[in-house]
C-alpha cells in the first residue's frame, strides 16, 4: 500500500510538473498576483505586509493547482483512456486517486517558493521567519488537507460533465473567502462561517503564524488535520458511490 501510494504520488508529481498549464498556474500566476498585491500594498504605504501577501499568493497557487488538477482528475483519466484500467485494478480506487489529488496540492508548493523568491529579489521583501519547526509541520499539513479537499472535489465534480466550468467558478471565491490576500475581518460576517469549513483558511493561518510568529499555529494545524479527515471520509463515500454507479451503467469509458 505504501509503495502504491508513493509511486502514484511521485508519478503524478512528475506528470503535472511536465504540464505547461500547471507550471503556469502554480508558478507564473501566483507570481503575477503577488506582484499586483505587492504594488498595491506598497502604493498604499503598507509595505510591512509583503511577506504576509507573498505567503497568501503562494497558497493561492496551491489552491489553483488542487482545484484544476483534482477537479478534473477523473475526467482526464477518461480522456486518456486509463479510467477503466485503474478502476479494474485490484487496488482500491480510492488509494489510486488520493496520491493524484495530493500530488496536485504538492506542486502548489512551487508557488510558495517562487512568490517568496520573487518578493525577495524584486521587491526587497525581508525573509525573516520565526523558528522553523512549526513551519516544517504547517506546510505539509496544509498540502495534505488541500490534497484531501481535492479528493472531495474529484468525487463530486465527476457528476458534472463540465467540471472545468465549476473549477473556474471556485477559484476566486475561495481566494477571497479564506483570507489569502484580504483579512477575513474586512469581509461580511457570514463569510467567516463558510471559511471555517475550507482548508486554505486554516492552512494560511498555520503558515503565517509559523512564519511570522504570533497566532496559534498548532491550533490551525490541528484544524487542517481535522478537516482533512472529514474530506477523506466524505470523498471516500462519494467515490464509492461514483464507482458503483459507473460500473452498473457502464459509463467508465464514456467521454
Amino acid at each position: 500500500m505504501v509503495r502504491l501510494f508513493y509511486a502514484g504520488w511521485l508519478f503524478h508529481l512528475k506528470n503535472l510538473s511536465n504540464s505547461l498549464f500547471f507550471v503556469l498556474i502554480s508558478v507564473l500566476q501566483p507570481v503575477i498576483f503577488a506582484s499586483i498585491a505587492f504594488f498595491m500594498y506598497r502604493s498604499g504605504q503598507r509595505p510591512g505586509t509583503l511577506l504576509y501577501v507573498a505567503l497568501g499568493a503562494g497558497l493561492m497557487g496551491i489552491w489553483s493547482s488542487t482545484l484544476f488538477g483534482s477537479g478534473g482528475a477523473i475526467q482526464w483519466q477518461r480522456w486518456q483512456g486509463t479510467l477503466e484500467i485503474v478502476v479494474a485494478a485490484p487496488a482500491p480506487f480510492l488509494l489510486v486517486l488520493v496520491p493524484l489529488t495530493l500530488a496536485t496540492a504538492t506542486i502548489g508548493l512551487y508557488s510558495i517558493v517562487t512568490t517568496l523568491l520573487w518578493g525577495r529579489v524584486f521587491f526587497g521583501m525581508p525573509l525573516a521567519f520565526a523558528p522553523p519547526l512549526q513551519l516544517a509541520v504547517a506546510l505539509p499539513a496544509t498540502v495534505v488537507s488541500l490534497g484531501l479537499m481535492g479528493l472531495l472535489l474529484a468525487s463530486t465534480f465527476v457528476l458534472y460533465r463540465q467540471a472545468s466550468a465549476f473549477s473556474n467558478l471556485l477559484e476566486y471565491p475561495v481566494w477571497l473567502a479564506t483570507g489569502l490576500l484580504v483579512p477575513l475581518s474586512l469581509l461580511p460576517g457570514w463569510v467567516t462561517w463558510i471559511s471555517w469549513g475550507l482548508a486554505p483558511t486554516w492552512g494560511i493561518k498555520a503558515i503565517r503564524s509559523a512564519a511570522l510568529g504570533g497566532g496559534d499555529a498548532w491550533g490551525a494545524i490541528g484544524m487542517c488535520v481535522a478537516l482533512g479527515v472529514v474530506y477523506l471520509i466524505l470523498g471516500a463515500v462519494f467515490m464509492k458511490n461514483f464507482e458503483r454507479l459507473a460500473r452498473r451503467r457502464a459509463t467508465l469509458s464514456l467521454t
Binding site: L20, E171, L187
Partner: protein, 261 residues
Amino acid sequence: MNAVRVFFLGGAVSYRALFNWMQPVVYVPTMLAGPLFQILLFAYVGRASGVESDAFFVVGNAVQVAAMAGVFGVAMTIGGERWTQTLSLVLVSPANRLALFLGRALPLIVNGFILSWFGFAVGWAFLDFDPAARSLPALALCVATTAASCTAFGLVIGSFGLYAREIFVAANLAYMGLLIFCGVNVPLDALPQWMEAVSRGLPLTHGIEAARSIVGGAAISDVGGLLARELAVGAAYAAAAYVLLRAFEALGRRKASFETY
C-alpha cells in the same frame, strides 16, 4: 456576398459550437461568476491595502473582463478547432480569411461588452460604485472600444493557435499580462517606468483610463484622445493578427501541423 455570409453565419455558428457558452451551466460559472469574484477580490485587496477607491477597482476590472471574452474566446475558437479536429477542414475551405476570422471575433466583442456591464452592475450592487446616469452612454463607448481592441489582441494570440498546440497557456499568460500591466488594479504611476511604457502599447490601458475619467465626471470630448489611442492600438493588433494568421496558416500547411493536438 459569400464573405458576408461567412462573416455573420460562420461567426455565429462558431460561437455556439465551439464555446457552448449558450448553456447556462457553462456560461454562468465561467463568464459571470469569474468576473464577479475578480472584482470583489481586488476591491477588497484595495480596501486592505488602503489604495484607491472601490470605483477605481470596479471600473478597472469591469473593463478588463472584456479581455476575457476577447483573449480566451479567440484563442479557444482556434484551439477548439484543433481539439475537435476541424481546423484543417476550416482552412481547406476557400472562405475569405478576413471574413472568417473577423466573423468569429464579432460575437466576442459583443460578449465582452455585456460582461463589462455585468461587472459594473456587480460594483453597483455590492460595492461603493454609483456612476452618474448621464455618464453611462460615454462609458458604453469606452467599453465598446476596449472590447474591440482586446479582441484584436486576442486574434494575435489566437493566430499562434494555427501553429502551436498550447494556445490556452499563451492566452492565460496574455490575460494575466493585461491584468498587471494595464493599470487595472495598480495605478500606472505606481508601476515601474518600463512597465508603464509597455502598457501604452497594450489594449485596455487607454480604455480603462478613459472609463475612469468618465466615471469621475469628465465629458466624452475630454477622453477623445484616449479612445482614439485605444482604437489605434486595436487597429494595429488587428493588422498584425491578419498577417500572423496568414503566415501561420502557410507554416501550418508546410509542416502539416493542423492536426496535431
